[in-house]
């Protein structure tokens, strides 16, 4: 029995998907040459005035609503003052006093147990520039700064210290990502830095209501690395506490390669950010209608979708896979509108469809096959027009060309032969050509019929309906 339990809270920064920056009209697109997407405002030149991007405010409200937060009565901004060379103005514009959203929550399931993680707040802030060094940081004589990223809108989502294990933290983060992807406010790519996570980790005696000294853990660049980093930090703190020591409150860096966390060299003394309201930004009062419209424009969120798909009789695994991607879930729903076999549909979507998408490195939205086309194909299978096996071949062609199932079937001549008159002729031919096998059957080797079915299929180049062939052959063999 462990003596200590971990108490974990996350601070997650997410880049908003606006086309322009938070306070200027510079593009946010990734991949431009250094300092190509800059202007007087995001460079902090003397005499500039910030121009608040209303779309970013809308996205922040959208994210806050998706996380079940209360929306601030007034959206305003504060200055967080500190000096660093990636910070053009010498202050970062953030929301210190009145975050956009507060008191939200995320529901999730960890190892079969329902958990509700409270969201303390979500607030907007501007991103800083990026330092570029030649070679290693410490060995580089100079730093260069690329300000393309400076001023890109971020939201920071801060949880309450409700997480109790590294695994929970990872699952929370994945759930958060799904929710934000559903809301359409960010692409949440941890590897590219459009989603970044810091973790506050502390330990306390099991059953205690107190909080121990916490460390802030940084540099975790994937979901896996978040879990691993926190695991290592928990172990480290456990060892200290078991030996009767004290955890030093500090910022620690996760070293992915060496699998350990280490204290970061403190660059400056304890920061005093001197936060005060930015006098150049006029507060926005989000009127109720606007917020209501944003709320209405949110799609059905993952939890509600999960409940609905479960209600259709889908197993939990299928529900999880389908709802993990909003586009995939939308595809499922659209197909489901005209094809009612929920499980067959999920098999096809999770199987063939996802396989082909992955093979082509494509997103659902890039698919040429529509949900309606898939539904039509499955109906043709059910009606016996083609076999399940041919259907896969047909679907591949549909996926490649975007053509309807019927067109592909006609082109390829794949229509299944269910006409018993036609099949009886072929069956007679096969029976006549294989007297030895017929004899085996007569002698009780009922499995021999399989060979004969195969011969019929071969004769028809696979277009015969195997169930019908089976029935015809059985009747003929039993009667001769």
């Amino acid at each position: 029995m462990k003596r200590f339990e971990p108490v974990i809270g996350l601070e997650v920064h997410v880049e908003l998907l606006t086309e322009t920056k938070l306070f200027c009209r510079c593009a946010t697109a990734f991949g431009a040459l250094p300092n190509e997407q800059v202007c007087e405002i995001c460079l902090g030149l003397p005499g500039h005035r910030p121009l608040l991007n209303k779309k970013a405010v809308e996205y922040a409200i959208r994210a806050a609503l998706a996380l079940n937060c209360e929306i601030a009565e007034q959206i305003d901004f504060d200055r967080k003052n500190y000096f660093y060379c990636d910070l053009p103005k010498g202050y970062q514009i953030s929301q210190f006093f009145n975050p956009t959203g507060t008191n939200g929550y995320v529901d999730m399931v960890v190892n079969g147990t329902a958990r509700r993680i409270r969201i303390r707040q979500i607030h907007m802030e501007e991103d800083v520039g990026k330092l570029v060094h030649q070679g290693e940081i410490m060995g580089s004589a100079t730093s260069r700064v690329d300000f393309n990223r400076a001023g890109i809108p971020l939201v920071e989502i801060v949880t309450q210290p409700d997480l109790r294990s590294a695994e929970e933290a990872r699952i929370f983060l994945q759930k958060l990502r799904t929710i934000l992807l559903y809301a359409g406010v960010s692409d949440c790519k941890m590897e590219e830095g459009s989603m970044r996570c810091d973790a506050n980790v502390s330990l306390r005696p099991v059953g205690s209501g107190m909080l121990g000294n916490k460390t802030e853990l940084k540099n975790m660049n994937s979901f896996r690395s978040v879990q691993r980093g926190i695991e290592h930090e928990i172990e480290r703190q456990e060892e200290i506490l078991e030996e009767g020591g004290h955890v030093i409150p500090e910022t620690r860096h996760f070293d992915e390669n060496r699998g350990l966390t280490r204290a970061m060299r403190s660059k400056f003394q304890a920061a005093d950010y001197r936060c005060f309201p930015d006098p150049n930004i006029i507060p926005v009062i989000p009127d109720k209608d606007w917020v209501a419209r944003i709320r209405e424009s949110l799609p059905e969120m993952p939890d509600s979708r999960t409940a609905r798909l479960t209600g259709l009789g889908l197993p939990p695994y299928d529900v999880e896979i389908i709802t993990s991607d909003r586009e995939l879930a939308d595809f499922y729903d659209a197909a489901c509108a005209s094809y009612r076999e929920a499980k067959t549909l999920s098999n096809w979507i999770m199987g063939e469809f996802v396989r082909l998408l992955n093979a082509g490195g494509m997103k659902v939205s890039e698919s040429r096959v529509t949900p309606g086309q898939l539904a039509a194909l499955l109906a043709l299978v059910d009606n016996g027009v083609i076999s399940g096996k041919s259907a896969k071949e047909v679907f591949e062609e549909m996926f490649a060309t975007g053509k309807d199932a019927e067109a592909v079937i006609t082109e390829k001549g794949l229509t299944q032969i269910s006409d018993s008159g036609e099949l009886e002729k072929i069956a007679n031919k096969v029976i006549a050509a294989n007297p030895a096998v017929v004899a085996d059957f007569k002698n009780g080797k009922t499995k021999a019929i399989g060979f004969l079915v195969g011969q019929v299929m071969k004769e028809t180049r696979g277009q015969a309906n195997p169930q019908v062939v089976n029935k015809i052959l059985a009747e003929k063999l039993n009667n001769c």
């Binding site: 007087e40 460079l43 902090g44 030149l45 003397p46 005499g47 500039h48 005035r49 910030p50 121009l51 608040l52 200055r79 003052n81 000096f83 660093y84 060379c85 053009p88 103005k89 010498g90 202050y91 730093s143 700064v145 660059k267 400056f268 005093d272 950010y273 001197r274 005060f276 006098p279 150049n280 930004i281 006029i282």
Partner: protein, 456 residues
Amino acid sequence: MTRDNLTVKELFCLYNRGAVTREELKVKVPEILEVIDNRYHAFISRATDFDPGVPPAYPCVAADNICTESLNTTCGSEMLLDYRSPFTASALDKARSSGFFLLGKTNLDEFGIGDCTGRSFFKTTFNPLSQDHLAGSGAAAVVAVGGAVAGFASDARGGLRQSASFCGLTGLKPTYGRVSRRGLIEYASSLDQVGVITAGVDDATFALRCISGPDSKDPASQESPPDQDSTASGFRVAVPEGWDRVSGLSAGVKSVFNKTLSLLAELKVEAAEVPFSYLPLVSITAAIIGATEAFSNLANYDGVRFGKRMSGDHLQDMYVKTRTAFFGRRVKEFLTFGAFVSSGGNYREYFLWAQQNRGAIQRRLMAILKDYDFLLLPTLPFTAPTLAESSGLVNGADVYTALANLAGLPAVTVPAGFDGRLPVGVQLIGRPFAEAALLKAAKLLEEQGGREVVAP
């Protein structure tokens, strides 16, 4: 009058009437500016091309904390010694499209911080009315000698009005938001406003019209509501009580102000003292808010992207050396004060306290302006200081002027008399966006006050 004695303003006037050729203007104007600069140390940079284009053209200057593409913008600081802004302030763009022609950039307290002494890293500007005394700003000195029709400058705690008063001029600080501040390198964003110094009220009225209006690049700028002139059938003036108990109020200023009150009585203008307990808090409140914002606004002068840089052993060392070397003493004192009053431990006691004062002052002023059309106050407690006197005067100069900045209200100073050789201004503060009425009343004071003015 021989043409040799003409001022720049008069030359442009003749040019606009076709009485002076473009060639003559191009030769004479720079010569006169050279003389003005040599005598009063008014300019930081002067235009190189004096072709004003198609008439009418109105000569103007701009304080060197207003950005221009055509000339450097130094803020009077070594930090920005060679700084050229990639854009021109919106107010100057507007002025240009109304026919204003920029002659040069004028001297100012470094970054505008310094309480109207008119001292920068480069020079100290002297007062054309009395060369032993300071002008408060280069713009005021140039306008005072007819070197320009208008001097565009900033007014954060009253500097613009103070220097206008020192030089016997009209100084107008518009309502916050009436004029775009994009391109103004302000130190105190919530207080600062672009305004204008002119020889008289009419010029100020004209200049204001040219620079007013919304600007898509300054979200705080607004379309001015239609002027509602409440003063058609006379107006009422409130004088905040305690005006005469302000420390440092000189006998000369007091006497000119009292004469203005008698003058209003003669004109049957009701001028009543109203209860007002905040005068002792004005300077300190404006200083705390101004310094907090300045500490943040001037943080971009870090040697990284523009301006001067000292090399250092590491990043923090570079910051310290750069800012230590290239900011002047007064700026560093003010920034240190700002860092102190906004630091975590002092935020409540100082910054929040000042914000509360500001709110209370705003509410009280608006309440007074419900019953009265204007507030009337001296512009400063004293007249233009000498260089020696100025070092002790840094606090309290803004006791009357900063009220308008704290409340975002329009205010205008006009000369009302003299104390010896030095002019004394009085100040009217009006309702938000009621500049038309304000300037009309100022015009009345100007005309009537003229009787008292004895030219030195």
